[in-house]
Amino acid sequence: MLGPDHIRSLLRDSLRNLHLGDADIYLTATTQALTRFANNRIHQNVYHDDAVAHIRIAYQKRQGRAVTNNLSLDGLRSAVVQAREHAGLMPEDPDFPRLPQAPKAASVDAYDEATANAGPEHRAAIVGMVCRKAADAGLEAAGFYRTGVTELAVFSTRGRHCYHAGTFAGLLITARSDDSAGWSKGGGWRMGEIDAEALADEAIGKAVRGRNPQDLEPGEYPVVLEHYAVDDMLEALSFYGMGAHMVQDGRSWMSDVQGQPAMSPLVSIWDDGLDSSGWPVPFDAEGVPRQRVDIVADGVVQGPVHNSYTAAKAGLASTGHQRGATGGPTATNLFMKPGVQTTEELIASVDRGLYITRFYYTRLAHNRGCVMTGMTRDGTFLIENGELASPVKNLRFTQSYVDALAGCIALSDTAHLNLNEAGVAMHVPAALLESWRFTGQTV
């Protein structure tokens, strides 16, 4: 780890006496170790660390940038000079506000010493257990177990100085037979909260139950979506429309439905970077404190998340959602309000429908309504008379995620944290939806 004192003195010195106008540096440093397995053995096992400084110089409504992983003072100063040169070449952007001033961000609990210090022997032992369980069940396991540390810091000539260190851990398991597969995934910022045995049993159980899948005629069916599938929905809704830049361009699914009850009253979605039950990050890449933002409240679409640029255009204050050094604002710490029934009760309420473990390779087919296409994967079952009746072959869908959530009948009482490799965290329940449009089936 670089540590807050070293980072602060390094960034401060790199901007000293340069007479640049406004400047800020966003620094990300990540150490990650990942043990990957397939065919019941470890086949890839890696460690990497990197630290990258994103430098921004702004004056007279111009801004220039440079990025480097050379964190020597000379390396940083060279990048600063390059960013300034870029700024000098830029045409003025009348909408560009000054670099933001911001109050000090709250500090959040997100660092776990045991996770930070986990070694390859620990990871190998967990993976070994998963592989042995799979082999005992006549299955082949694949997946990864990872641990690591992320440090984030912003230093600005406008008075923003912030630092955050967080840990992360994740275990992902696919268990496979010749004709079935099961999936499980757990993670967060404390590796001690990962119940590896339970995750192994979950994936193995689905793979065993999924053997001999049947054909099913594509069409519209009620669905019970596991939290893994709901996670996919929220990720898509985030990336295809929760950023204010997309709304301002008219490219967001929100563009026509802000203020309207576009989803079921059961659906409430918000972003909260300070909630330690997610993967908290207390400030954004501009050093602006993360604000809780209601995206959908009781089915009514509220509004997008902002960075300082989109907020200035809208006459608002930034909500602290500039995710990286470039690109638009993004909601990356989403929560969906749970319901009151168990997942088993959701299944029991369906006469004939489908139970979906997760979606795969989902892509935007049309931004109006966030129409997505993708496949089911790793555990798709027909529900008949309130019970999982039989496994079915994976299905392709073409479905508006907004319309699907308009037909939300119930949500499970337990939400799960899904933390992906890119640091996007979704805390979501399982969902019972009135209808899902399946448009094809695979071999």
Binding site: Q44, Y47, D50, T326, Y360, T373
Partner: protein, 485 residues
């Protein structure tokens, strides 16, 4: 750097590695994005570091560092062996390096992408002027709500060495550019892109590669097409018809339904948890009719301007061209040393890492459909009833690479051998071998283009590879079209 390399490899050997290799990478990237008349991004990125793989008792370990010193390399080498030992401790007895990797690789030499104009020697003002000119053209079209123009230039210097005596150095230049217009109105949102979607066209080359695109000269046309699409008829729903696919959309079809399907690590289950597996299992090699006899696909890392073009792969294997599909038959995989050895074959040099801090994986090089003999006008004239589609908009395929669905930015009806009305929101779907077996015509070399795919994701931790795919427009019979309502 030679001393650093020797230090790292010696340390790995002394700690017990039976085989080790090291890559030193220095990557410089310049990116400029103009969005809605404003320079949204003008950035210079540099990333420098090294990565070391070590093999111990048949198990791998990898460690990387941005500290390019003897001490940094020494520490990374020790860490790589420690990780390999941890892997071996769980895996049990493993194969020897010779059993695992086959014949030693001891390549020597250097390679540099041929460029006419070094893109890093071109003034930023010239690059900006090119993008702003394209933006102005798009801005002149009413109803265009969002405009984007961008260029990217990359120079990557890589040195690879291994304990078998290989030592190669290469400098790869990439250049890319593109424009995109989004129109909103009539309850619709429509986008057009040039030269292709996903932001830009990209290849190995210099500044001349971008100049040849003539972004400004095509910007107004694509903006007008985006507006025209707002009121175009919707693609017919759920019909089966003949489809003529333009070369850029077909390039992505090749990428998803062939390129990934012939990655041997997928076929062997190594990517099962993430990218998935493949229906092209080893038992089908030389024993499976993948497509019609019109379908000939090669993996060629020697193609001019391809993003999969290099001197050596990241295991030191030289660039080469090998057959993947010959006269419709499945005849070859993309392979690494380890995976090829498992099948009793030799690697065809497809191991590539996205960065110094990632391990090499089996990745596509330039996986291309060889040209046929048709002229495009003749092919359209030969089609009674069908749809011509152009430029990818959406893409998805299942985890065994069977069931796919693609969307295109633009479609045109074909009636009685003539192009007709414009169609919006065109989609098509199918099952890979059925689809390729229904390919009955491939256009000739004059229509053949090599398209860059610079955002191919694979692996955990994630890696983004740069690949290319050559294709010319082709016809597919009896395709299910119009999946989206």
């Amino acid at each position: 750097m030679d001393e650093l390399i020797a230090t790292a490899l010696d340390t790995a050997r002394q700690r017990g590695a039976e085989y080790a290799d090291i890559r030193l990478v220095s990557n410089r990237e310049q990116r400029i994005v103009v969005r809605n008349g404003v320079v949204e991004t003008m950035t210079a990125d540099e990333s420098v570091g090294l990565g070391i793989r070590a093999l111990y008792n048949g198990a791998w370990g990898f460690a990387s560092t941005r500290e390019l010193t003897n001490a940094g390399a020494d520490e990374a080498a020790g860490q790589a062996v420690q990780i390999a030992r941890a892997s071996a401790g769980q895996n049990g007895a493993g194969l020897s390096a010779a059993q695992l990797l086959g014949a030693p690789v001891a390549s020597q030499g250097s390679y540099t992408t041929p460029v006419a104009i070094d893109p890093f020697a071109v003034a930023l003002e010239d690059k900006l002027a090119l993008l702003l000119a394209a933006d102005t053209e798009m801005a002149s079209v009413p109803q265009v709500s969002a405009r984007m123009a961008n260029v990217v230039f990359i120079r990557e210097e890589r040195t690879f060495a291994n304990t078998e005596g290989a030592h190669v150095s290469q400098t790869i230049y990439e250049a890319g550019g593109g424009v995109q217009a989004t129109a909103v109105g009539n309850g619709e949102t429509q986008r057009r892109s040039y030269p292709q979607s996903h932001g830009r066209q990209q290849g190995c080359g210099g500044w001349e590669y971008v100049l040849d695109m003539d972004l400004a000269g095509n910007a107004r046309r694509i903006a007008e097409e985006a507006v025209e699409l707002l009121t175009a008829d919707a693609c017919p729903v759920d019909i089966t018809t003949d489809l003529i696919i333009d070369s850029s959309q077909l390039a992505l079809q090749i990428h998803e339904s062939c390129g990934h399907a012939v990655e041997l690590d997928r076929a062997l289950g190594d990517e099962a948890a993430f990218a998935g597996t493949s229906f092209l299992t080893p038992g089908l090699l030389n024993n499976f009719q993948y497509g019609s006899d019109q379908v000939n696909i090669v993996a060629d890392s020697t193609s001019d301007t391809g993003l999969g073009t290099f001197g050596w792969d990241d295991e030191g294997l030289p660039a080469q061209s090998t057959d993947i599909i010959r006269d419709g038959q499945f005849v070859g995989y993309l392979m690494s040393r380890e995976s090829a050895t498992r099948l009793g074959l030799a690697s065809n040099g497809c191991m590539r890492a996205s960065s110094w801090n990632r391990i090499p994986l089996i990745r596509m090089t330039n996986v291309s459909l060889l040209p046929g003999q048709w002229d495009l006008d003749d092919l359209i004239a030969d089609t009674d009833d069908g749809i011509y589609i152009e430029t990818n908009r959406s893409w998805s395929i299942d985890d065994r690479r069977y069931n796919f669905q693609f969307g295109a930015e633009l479609g045109r009806e074909i009636k009685n051998g003539k192009l007709g009305r414009l169609l919006r929101n065109c989609t098509y779907t199918g099952i890979t071998p059925e689809f390729w077996r229904n390919c009955d015509a491939v256009c000739g070399p004059e229509h053949w283009e090599l398209w860059g795919t610079p955002r191919c994701g694979k692996g955990q931790p994630g890696q983004i590879a740069h690949t290319s795919h050559g294709a010319s427009p082709s016809r597919f019979r009896n395709v299910r079209v119009g999946v989206m309502r």
